[in-house]
Symmetry: D2
Subunit: 331 residues, 4 copies
């Protein structure tokens, strides 16, 4: 039985806590949150106890922690948990500062613990099926990737102000998808050009951010990736990509709540995609936490490491710089 | 906390036992199966105990039972559980004999317990979304229903011999869908014509059964339903229906493992439907058992009653008779 | 150069006249219609002349005629044209009376002329692609056929009264599709059961007809076919079929005016099917008349003969009888 | 009756010549081609005569010409035809040199003749339906456009060498689509970044060109456009775009030869897109030439003017420069 603690009892903390508590062989002992009431509610719901960081990290029974607290706490918690010899599952991003994230990666390596970063898209049944077929050679060598990544609506401007900007906050996942899909053979980004606009709400621009972005990446092997993003798609949460290879194309579509189509005088209407990430990635969240514990059990490497976290953030930094200067960045 | 026992530790018993054990407020106390090893395995897995029927029915803490044992045991177990004052969830069919099923329905009514029959399709997210839109008036008055119901392969002939025939074994679900979708306003079947063939395996015919069938039902209000069925669809499990109303059509498609399409020299290829009923109806099984306990809690009526079970079996009997005689049946 | 005359300058006559006039090597010389103004308009538009039946049939240059006049004139015109040694393209049906249709078939055979019946669905690019794949063995042996055939709205009751009823007027095409798809190896219908309702307009019932029908056919080889039809589909003209074989399924969908999908707060909306038969079967009409002249040129047999016309009408007669009596018909 | 001459009897000249010859009120008098045999064949097929440029331009009956000869002849022929007072339909591009194209545009304006450039995509039924819905306000204000434009295979390297490069040869159409879809209110490109790779055939790179490209354009109003292109898509000709507006998305898919889907053990397979531009844009070519003559008749302006041709070429030049320098271009 693995004894585990969760840091953060917010939206994503609740997801991970419930999912890991339901795994056979895993016991959620502690929940920790800056808001005691939130911690207490989640702990009670899942039969765990509230505890503070020191208590958790000092408890020898606890072998792993899941870090779902605010971004600003990630690097510090990872470092402390690593020092305490705990294995770590941490939500993205490692840290908004790449140097700090790199330092954390070194600390993790030094401590010899496992650290998996929550890039849940790699566990989405549709996306991972595409990866599986690429591995099976079904489309030959990858050449181009087009990622469509659209949120149903912008978060509050207060959130945006401290988010690190859209490239670090939202596209971090897309940068990881780019590396996962186009760079599996060790290729990496060589050149990146990004641009952005404020089209949905002037307040986003006043906060120094963009709400619509377009990124292009060229790899050392000449593969091309385009990412288009908006904070506000009127029809909901839109998460697709398509990868062109020398022998074919894999297109990953959205998932819908039902398979009903309605035919009437207005046309033939299918469901919109799942409403937002909690619904769309429900299976992915389950599968990634399962993967974390399977790897702890088997000793296999995680599919998404802290190094992946650092690499995605470097791309986010490059995109931020490119969009601000209007110039491409060489990597 | 509701304390519950499950009869039957086979494929479907495992599904229901796991699902109800995961519900908050529900505790699986006992598992009962004619094969002690099967009972023990399931009980251990879910933290329950093995017990025999008498023990279970005599235990005053047990307020409900789930009957997932072989068809031949259903009516007797329902009657005994009802007499013992337990609420009942029972897999379809109530009994292969309509008179016995009717007697059981009376016994349940006399005992004043709840009895829900496991027509899980009514809980499938796609099918129930169609029903919801009909209730919302989106297609006007229903007029025609076309049901496509195809298994990926025939069960062993030994199973078929004691199954009551394809109409009772396989189409029972389709007859319930017919009543659920076309007869929600109290309409019922008035005329039924069925025919069948043996096209996939002569052994099916030697066992006195069909492997491909075509059924037509006309209701008192003149609504029309056609059902096409086969035991063997080379591409897998195919469960669709479409209902035409005065203002539009609702088409319910299959569910696929992923939303990947592969474009290559051969065409554009999407996933086959989910492999079989355990995958396709995974959500439906979860939702139906949840509904059972919600109704016990709230006192609301079940969506699928023992009377629905009897009504579907009457249609199965009529279809069997029609196919054998080559003549329609008036109901 | 083939010199040709067209009988009938109505909706379907205009289609065929335009299509044949555009073929290289074909010259439309004459148009004949009971309404001189209609004949004159079409003739002028296509550079032809108005003529009466006698003139046309007596003109030795005319080697072929296209009969697009009202149904009641078909058998007489076919017989006269055959006697005059003209090859014949005739719109369905040959005659509402099967014995008269059979007599006409004999007259055609005796005269040694070609007579093709306008079952244009066999030339629809989607439907004929399905037939081509069956011929290529892609789904193995055919087992079941489900035909969905729905008009966007009923014609005037005056038309219905003299139409011969929905089975002869509308399902005649579906009966031909049944034979084309399921009976290509010489199989034929053995048993037919039909039922009908009046759900859209009581006047249809008062005229002695149905507006919604359900037909089931079983062939000598045990293949099953179900046809569902309505005169009024709120979303338009719906022409689909799917054929299940021992190795797979071919599903033939509708054709849409555009490939635009609109994603908004209401869902993801695709176009309705093409509005009605003139749009849906535009390509089929072109291809069938091209086929007629190609066969005249090459001496190859027509894909749809007068015997096919007679066979479809026998099924229409059987369906009419079955629906009226409530009893199946053996063929 | 409009009397017309066609310059160029190659692949695209044959298309336009056949289409205009079939229009009521239009008479194709002359065909001109550097290869007399090609001219003679096309002329004979369509009942026209072979003539040289001087003869055609001197003939007062000829009121319009269609220029389908090689790119290098376009600007000179436009200028001469304009000087001779003929209306002009010219295939894209106007000229590989923007200054020469601009000079031609001025010559056309001075002569007061009409000059339409063959951007046939604006007449594609799917694409123009999207534009129509945008005009109807169905998706609000446009914000982002993603264009996927892929050829089934590269042309011979000899062609590529004199093509002006992939941006001028292939993306010229996409640049026009960008302007048509995102700039209908007078907005224009402000910033463009392009990059390219050679992934399919090193000979393309040796010829100084790319075979895979990624372009991003930002307009003055901040709208974003991404274009992804390859010379070689293993599955065929792929022509899609999707435009996101403040209220929804319009997605334009490919067109397929048939609506058959095949379900078997491998999955559910739909047709590949139409094979190449002659098939995909068959309707568009018909509709654009019809539009040309309708405008000549009605005096309405063309939907695609010589100014549109110049504007698209400026974008192609900018993309070429950006890809070569690795730096964005301000416009």
């Amino acid at each position: 039985m693995k004894h585990v603690a969760v840091f953060g009892a917010g939206r994503i903390g609740q997801i991970h806590a419930s999912n890991l508590a339901a795994l056979p062989g895993v016991k959620l002992d502690f929940v920790c949150d800056a808001l005691p009431a939130a911690a207490a509610r989640l702990a009670q719901q899942l039969g765990a106890q509230v505890a503070d960081t020191d208590t958790i990290l000092a408890d020898p029974r606890i072998s792993a922690v899941a870090i779902c607290s605010p971004t600003s706490t990630h690097s510090d918690l990872i470092a402390r948990a690593a020092a305490a010899g705990k294995h770590i599952f941490c939500e993205k991003p490692v840290d908004l500062s790449v140097p700090r994230a790199q330092a954390v990666a070194r600390a993790v390596a030094d401590a010899g613990v496992g650290c998996m970063i929550g890039f849940q898209r790699r566990f989405d049944p549709t996306f991972s099926e595409a990866r599986r077929r690429m591995d099976a050679g079904e489309i030959g060598t990858p050449e181009m990737l087009v990622i469509t990544s659209r949120d149903p609506g912008a978060p509050p401007v207060e959130y945006i102000k401290q988010s690190g900007g859209i490239f670090r906050d939202m596209l971090i996942h897309d940068f990881d998808v780019f590396r996962w899909i186009l760079c599996a053979d060790g290729d990496e980004a060589a050149w990146l050009s990004a641009t952005g606009s404020v089209l949905t709400d002037p307040a986003v621009g006043e906060a120094g951010d963009y709400d619509c972005t377009a990124v292009t990446i060229r790899t050392h092997k000449g593969r091309l990736c385009q990412i288009n993003t908006t904070r506000r798609a009127a029809y909901g949460y839109d998460q697709r990509f398509e990868v062109l290879g020398s022998r074919g194309l894999l297109q990953c579509g959205n998932q819908a709540p039902s398979q009903v189509t309605q035919w009437d005088a207005n046309g033939i209407k299918a469901d919109k995609p799942e409403a937002f990430f909690l619904q769309r990635y429900a299976a992915a969240y389950r599968l990634e936490i399962e993967h974390f514990f399977e790897c702890l059990q088997s000793g296999q490497p995680f599919k998404t490491t802290v190094e992946d976290g650092v690499a995605a953030q470097k791309l986010a930094d490059a995109a931020t710089q490119s969009a601000r200067t209007g110039q491409p960045v060489s990597l």
